[in-house]
């Protein structure tokens, strides 16, 4: 990470960005915010928090997400000839049990990203209801692993909110969740046989 001071390193060629670069970097708040900040700090304790080193847990959780997700993807997309098709009755209420990953207050997953996830979720729930029970169970476990990872990373971000690596790990968990949903939606039909 650069330690250069603020301001463009090279003057932008685009006149619009040049205008933006000329804007004042400092904007004074309408009132002094320090008294409120000092009060909140005093309420929390007298000294900065000792760093709780949660990164190993967060790293382990993120690694587990990647491993489990890769296994799940392989399980779902493997050659349907090799995968024994299930003969199951439709379970229209099975998708109702699905709880998407909840991202904590320190994560930077945007409202737009959550909306995109939720848009895919409906289709996923429909496909999920047609899967074999053991596949549904595996997916539920996979989602639980992702939830645990999101919780660990969120807790680590609370201690180290400036960490780009933790943000990246959280973004990876989000992508794995989306990948799981889209994999089920696209591959689910080849893995089931309805009665």
């Amino acid at each position: 990470m650069s330690t250069l001071p603020f301001g463009p390193r090279n003057p932008p060629e685009d006149p619009l960005l040049a205008k933006a670069a000329e804007l004042p970097k400092d904007v004074a708040p309408p009132r002094d915010l320090w008294p409120a900040i000092a009060a909140r700090i005093a309420k929390a304790g007298d000294a900065p928090a000792k760093p709780a080193f949660r990164w190993p847990l967060a790293l382990a959780a993120a690694f587990l997400v990647a491993s489990v997700s890769a296994l799940m993807t392989w399980s779902l997309v493997r050659d349907p000839q090799q995968a024994e098709p299930a003969v199951i009755a439709e379970a229209p209420t099975a998708g109702a049990d699905i709880v998407p990953v909840r991202y904590g207050p320190n994560s930077g997953v945007s409202a737009a990203e959550l909306a995109a996830r939720d848009a895919l979720l409906g289709e996923f729930k429909s496909a999920f209801a047609t899967l074999r029970p053991e596949t549904r169970e595996a997916i539920q476990k996979n989602l639980a692993v992702m939830q645990a990872a999101a919780d660990e990373i969120d807790a680590a971000l609370a201690k180290d909110p400036a960490s780009g690596m933790l943000q990246g790990m959280l973004a990876g968990t989000y992508k794995q969740e989306l990948n799981l949903y889209s994999t089920v939606v696209t591959a689910g039909d080849g893995l089931t046989r309805r009665t």
Binding site: R9, L16, A20, D26, W34, K50, S110, A112, K159
Partner: protein, 184 residues
């Protein structure tokens, strides 16, 4: 006559880490303008920006022992501010806040017109404030505060290519809204 006191951020950070609130207040005085400016420009809402700037400094205080000096203190503080803004946007409170743009970036309130070379700083600020959040973020971080695409992408938790695409979109929207380019 006492020598003029020159206190760098590094020394203030060391003292603040030991629980010196006076040193942390000095850090606040040094950096509040840029932190508030960043929060204000990313949200477009003065009330939210005040809350977010407060949250940023409280979070920074708690995290000071974890600051290892690999980046400048101001960059570290800005990372916290960006994460704080992004987390607020995701919260139910943030989702209910009124924005000057809708999700697709359609303009809701912007009337500036004129050529780019005649644009005043207020015109540019208003054009930036009218952008959809993703495009606005990259203009603020890259265009105003001078972070590289790589740094901005890391702060925002997106790919570098996404940053560049958002900047391209932002430039087009701003030009259109400032009357220097026909809408397509």
């Amino acid at each position: 006559m006492p020598a003029p006191q020159v206190d760098s951020s590094a020394e203030l950070v060391r003292r603040a880490c030991r629980g010196d609130m006076g040193a942390f207040e000095d850090l606040y005085r040094q950096h509040i303008g840029r932190v508030y400016g960043l929060c204000l420009r990313m949200t477009g809402r003065p009330e939210s920006a005040e809350d977010l700037a407060q949250d940023t400094f409280v979070s920074a205080w708690r995290s000071l022992p974890g600051y290892e000096g690999r980046s400048s203190f101001s960059t570290w503080l800005h990372r916290i501010a960006v994460n704080t803004v992004l987390a607020r946007r995701r919260s139910p409170q943030g989702r209910n806040e009124i924005s000057m743009t809708d999700d697709s970036g359609e303009q809701m309130d912007f009337e500036a017109e004129g050529r780019m070379d005649e644009a005043t700083p207020i015109d540019v600020e208003r054009a930036i404030a009218s952008l959809p959040p993703g495009a606005r973020d990259i203009v603020v971080l890259h265009g105003i505060y001078g972070y590289s695409h790589e740094e901005a992408a890391e702060m925002l938790g997106v790919a570098v290519g996404t940053c560049k695409a958002q900047l391209h979109r932002a430039r087009h929207l701003m030009r259109t809204r400032m009357g220097t380019e026909q809408a397509t």
